[in-house]
């Protein structure tokens, strides 16, 4: 907690938020009619803060993240972010025509990093996600966990104030996921990046976040919020993590029961 406070004080930007979501609603027009997916969501992510967004499948988490990333427009309400956020998709979304290193360099190039520096920066980012030596590897030559790491490195290459992550580790085995949790926490603490992390895994949410936000289903509304003041570094099997997870799971179960019948 102390580190987070120090980081928040560090951030000497003129804006006091990394993302501000104000009364955002989103509906889609489907053959069955208009479907309200997100209903009046208001949420701030402070500079340097780590927030996880938790909710049942189909409750609108990805929709909200896409809105914050600017890939889609809200039906009502407004979203402002401190610069263009980086987005890490559920699928790695690396470009198969480029090597791992070149994927990262493309992100650097698009944000205007000089050609001479790109190679070194890309190698540094690969080292940050513990993938030294993967520079020349093609995407299909990497394992699932390695791909997610390269995707993380590419997202970090954007040097955004805000990192949006959409269930980035959902497809990985428990051990690899655990390693990546550690890496993510380390990177977050070393940089001043803010993270909005979507998951439906309660323990993962508690393991990572300073604040857990629970989204209800149909339509998605903010149902509850928890501040997690378990000191980092945490482990997913810590008893404090388990305790809070039980409480949150109870609530989540209630939400699913209430909105699950349709």
């Amino acid at each position: 907690m102390a580190t987070a406070l120090a980081k928040a004080a560090d951030a000497t930007t003129s804006v006091e938020y990394a993302a501000r979501i104000e009364h955002v609603s989103k509906s889609f027009t489907t053959p069955a009619g208009r479907q309200l997916v997100l209903d009046d969501i208001t949420l701030d992510v402070a500079p340097g803060e780590f927030v996880t967004l938790l909710g049942a499948s189909g409750c609108g988490k990805s929709t909200l993240l896409n809105l914050v990333a600017g890939l889609d427009q809200p039906s009502a309400g407004g979203i402002s972010t401190d610069g263009r956020p980086a987005l890490m998709f559920q699928e790695h979304a690396l470009f198969p025509w480029l090597t791992a290193g070149k994927n990262i360099e493309l992100a650097l190039k698009l944000r205007g990093v000089a050609k001479a520096e790109r190679r070194t920066k890309a190698e540094e980012l690969l080292a940050l996600v513990r993938l030294e030596g993967a520079y020349g590897k093609r995407v299909h030559e990497l394992s699932g966990g390695m791909r997610q790491r390269v995707a993380l490195a590419r997202a970090l290459a954007q040097d955004s104030k805000l990192l949006l992550m959409d269930e980035p580790f959902a497809a990985l085995d428990a051990i690899t996921r655990d390693v990546l949790h550690d890496e993510l926490t380390r990177i977050w603490r070393e940089t001043s990046v803010s993270v909005l992390f979507v998951t439906h895994n309660v323990r993962e949410a508690v393991r990572l976040a300073e604040r857990v936000v629970l989204l209800s289903s149909r339509p998605g509304r903010i149902a509850h919020e928890w501040t997690v003041d378990i000191p980092q570094p945490r482990r997913i099997e810590d008893s404090a993590v388990a305790e809070l997870s039980v409480e949150i799971t109870e609530q989540l179960r209630g939400e699913i029961r209430r909105h699950g019948q349709h």
Binding site: L71, P85, A86, F89, E91, A93, F95, P96, V139, Q158
Partner: protein, 247 residues
Amino acid sequence: MALVLVVWQVLVWAKVTDSYKLPAPSAVWDEVSEAWRQGTFLEYIWTSVSRGLLGFLMALVIGTPLGLLVARVKFVRAAIGPILSGLQSLPSVAWVPPAVLWLGLNDSMMYAVILLGAVPSIANGLVSGVDQVPPLYLRAGRTLGATGLRGTWHIVIPAALPGYLAGLKQGWAFSWRSLMAAEIIASSPDLGIGLGQLLENGRTANSMSMVFLAILLILIVGIAIDLLIFSPLERRVLRSRGLLVTH
């Protein structure tokens, strides 16, 4: 290849038909060595191949930006998209008479016929390549800041490359076919003798072995260019993306 030769020779021995209708392989071979001795053999091939490749390159230069425009600009697609796919199903031999009337019996008429045959397939290949780009790549590109022209250059074109290459391959096949049609129909002494004219000359001279030689060469050249240029290119691209199963 060997099997074809054997069947051919057997048919000749069996006297299925008159020898002027079905020449023996040896007769065709004599034709080859005769042309070789006169030094015209490579000239026939080169006349057609240089025309075909030059025409194909022009089709590439026109078809690529055209395909990009159709794929990326809505009103261009609405305006010429259907025409482009319609043209693809029109046999390019149909363009020979109007091209002769417009341009006369000369090289530019040949190139016009090649372009009309190949540009639609190259452009359409690119369009379907672009249409098949997974939306995820476009969205990932947008979050990285690749929008507009930068998005086209860094994301759309490389992602559409496999479809584009398939279009090029087909474009070459169309170039070659169109050229042969043009050469057969529109022969004139000042055009130089390509493989199509060779075939037509064989017909007028009633020399079945010359006709056979011409057909064989047309077939071999068409396949050889594909095997030497397009297939390796396609394989390389697919392999580098892990889309080719190698045993």
